[in-house]
C-alpha cells in the first residue's frame, strides 16, 4: 500500500512539473500565435475579395459545412459573399474561405487550417491549385470528380484525391447555401 502511494505520488509530481512548465511556455507563445492567426485571416480575406470590400462576419447555424459568411459590398451594392466552409480532408477537417459572386460563381478560394500531407494534399494551399474551381458554380457545375478536370489539373491532384474531393464538396455545399441566402 505504501509503495502504491509512493509510485502514484511520484507520477503525479512529474505530471505537475510538466504541466507547470507547459503553462509557462504557453503564456509566452500564446499572444504571438493569436496575433499571427488574426493576421492570417485578415490576409486571406483580402486575398479572396476580387472587387469591393468584405463586411462583418455573420455566423451561420444549422447548416452543416458552413461556419459563417461575410457579405462583399461596394458602395452599398452587394457583389457577393465570402463563405467560411468546412471540408473533410485526409487529415481531418479543413477550413476554407471561398468568395462567390451573387450568381454563385466562385471568384477565389483559400485553404486555411488543415492537416493534409505535406507535398500532397498541402499543395492545395497554393493559389494555382484553386484555379480549377474559379469561374465554376452558377451555370457551370463545380468539378467534384477527377474526370471533370483537364489532364494538367488532374495531374495536380494525383496522390491527393481525398483533399480535392473534400474541397470540391465543401464548395458545392457553399453554393447550395448561397441559394438559400439569396431568397
Amino acid at each position: 500500500m505504501k509503495s502504491f502511494a509512493v509510485i502514484g505520488g511520484k507520477l503525479a509530481l512529474i505530471c505537475a512539473i510538466a504541466a507547470t512548465a507547459l503553462g509557462f511556455v504557453n503564456n509566452l507563445t500564446e499572444p504571438r500565435i493569436r496575433e499571427f492567426k488574426a493576421k492570417q485571416l485578415e490576409e486571406a480575406l483580402s486575398a479572396v475579395v476580387v472587387r469591393g470590400k468584405a463586411g462583418e462576419e455573420k455566423p451561420v447555424e444549422g447548416v452543416p459545412g458552413v461556419l459563417s459568411y461575410y457579405p462583399i459590398e461596394e458602395r452599398n451594392n452587394a457583389l457577393g459573399y465570402i463563405l467560411k466552409l468546412i471540408g473533410a480532408g485526409y487529415g481531418g477537417d479543413m477550413v476554407l474561405l471561398a468568395s462567390y459572386d451573387t450568381e454563385g460563381v466562385i471568384q477565389a478560394v483559400r485553404l486555411m487550417e488543415n492537416q493534409e500531407t505535406p507535398g500532397l494534399g498541402k499543395e492545395a494551399e497554393k493559389d494555382q491549385y484553386m484555379e480549377k474551381f474559379i469561374g465554376t458554380g452558377g451555370k457551370n457545375p463545380i468539378p467534384v470528380r477527377k474526370s471533370q478536370l483537364t489532364q494538367e489539373q488532374a495531374d495536380s491532384i494525383t496522390g491527393a484525391s481525398i483533399t480535392f474531393i473534400g474541397i470540391a464538396k465543401a464548395l458545392e455545399t457553399g453554393a447550395v447555401f448561397l441559394e438559400t441566402l439569396e431568397d
Partner: protein, 210 residues
C-alpha cells in the same frame, strides 16, 4: 574513446533510420521536401535531447514500474513545447509539418533511446547519444527527402534567404518529374534502396576488419 563513440554511433553504425529502423512513420511522411526534413530533424533533436537528459537525471527517482508512463509525460511535454514555439516563431514551417509535429511523441527513436540508453547511463553520455542519434536521424531524413524531391518534383526546397525564394529548380527534371517517387510508394522504394546500400557498405566494412 568511448565518449566519442556515443556520439558517432548514431551517425552511421547505429543510424536510427537505416540500421535500427526506428521512426519510419515520419521518415516516409515528411520526406517530400528537404526543408520539411530539416525542420522535422531539428524538432526531433530538441525533443530527444530534452527527454534523454531528464530520463538520465531522474533514473533513480522514477520507479521501475511506472517508467514508461513517466517517459511519455516527459517526451510529450517537450513535444508540446516544440509545437508551441514553432507555431509562434516559425509558423511557415509549422504549417508545412502539420500533424507530424505532435506525432514526434510517438516517434520510436525517442522512447527507444530513453528506454535502451538514457535510463542506464550518465547525463553526459545521454546528451552525446541524443545528439548523435538526432543528427543521424536528420541526415538520413534529409538524404531521403533530397532524393525524393529532386526526382519526384524536380525541385529542392530550402529556406528563403534574401532574394533567393528557397526553391531550386532542376532544369530537365522539373518539366517531367517521376511523380511516383514523391508518393508513399516512392518513399518505400527510396528507403529500401538506401537500406540496401547501407547494408552493403556495412558488410564490406566488417569484412575489411576481419
Amino acid at each position: 574513446m568511448r565518449i566519442m563513440q556515443e556520439f558517432t554511433k548514431g551517425l552511421f553504425k547505429e543510424n536510427p533510420i537505416f540500421i535500427i529502423l526506428l521512426g519510419l512513420c515520419p521518415t516516409l511522411a515528411v520526406s517530400t521536401q528537404v526543408v520539411n526534413a530539416l525542420g522535422m530533424g531539428a524538432g526531433v533533436i530538441f525533443v530527444l535531447l530534452g527527454s534523454n537528459i531528464f530520463v538520465a537525471l531522474l533514473k533513480n527517482f522514477i520507479p521501475e514500474k511506472i517508467r514508461i508512463p513517466s517517459y511519455i509525460v516527459i517526451i510529450a511535454s517537450f513535444v508540446t513545447i516544440v509545437e508551441m514555439v514553432m507555431q509562434a516563431y516559425i509558423p511557415d514551417l509549422y504549417k508545412n509539418l502539420g500533424i507530424f509535429v505532435p506525432l514526434i511523441v510517438v516517434n520510436c527513436v525517442i522512447l527507444g533511446r530513453a528506454e535502451a540508453f538514457a535510463k542506464n547511463n550518465s547525463v553526459g553520455h545521454a546528451i552525446l547519444d541524443a545528439l548523435g542519434m538526432g543528427i543521424g536521424f536528420t541526415l538520413a531524413l534529409s538524404l531521403i527527402a533530397l532524393i525524393r524531391e529532386s526526382l519526384g518534383a524536380g525541385t529542392i526546397t530550402l529556406f528563403p534567404i534574401g532574394d533567393f525564394s528557397g526553391t531550386l529548380r532542376i532544369p530537365v527534371l522539373s518539366k517531367a518529374p517521376a511523380r511516383v517517387i514523391g508518393l508513399a510508394s516512392g518513399a518505400l522504394l527510396v528507403m529500401g534502396y538506401l537500406k540496401g546500400l547501407f547494408n552493403w557498405v556495412g558488410a564490406r566494412r566488417k569484412e575489411a576488419v576481419k
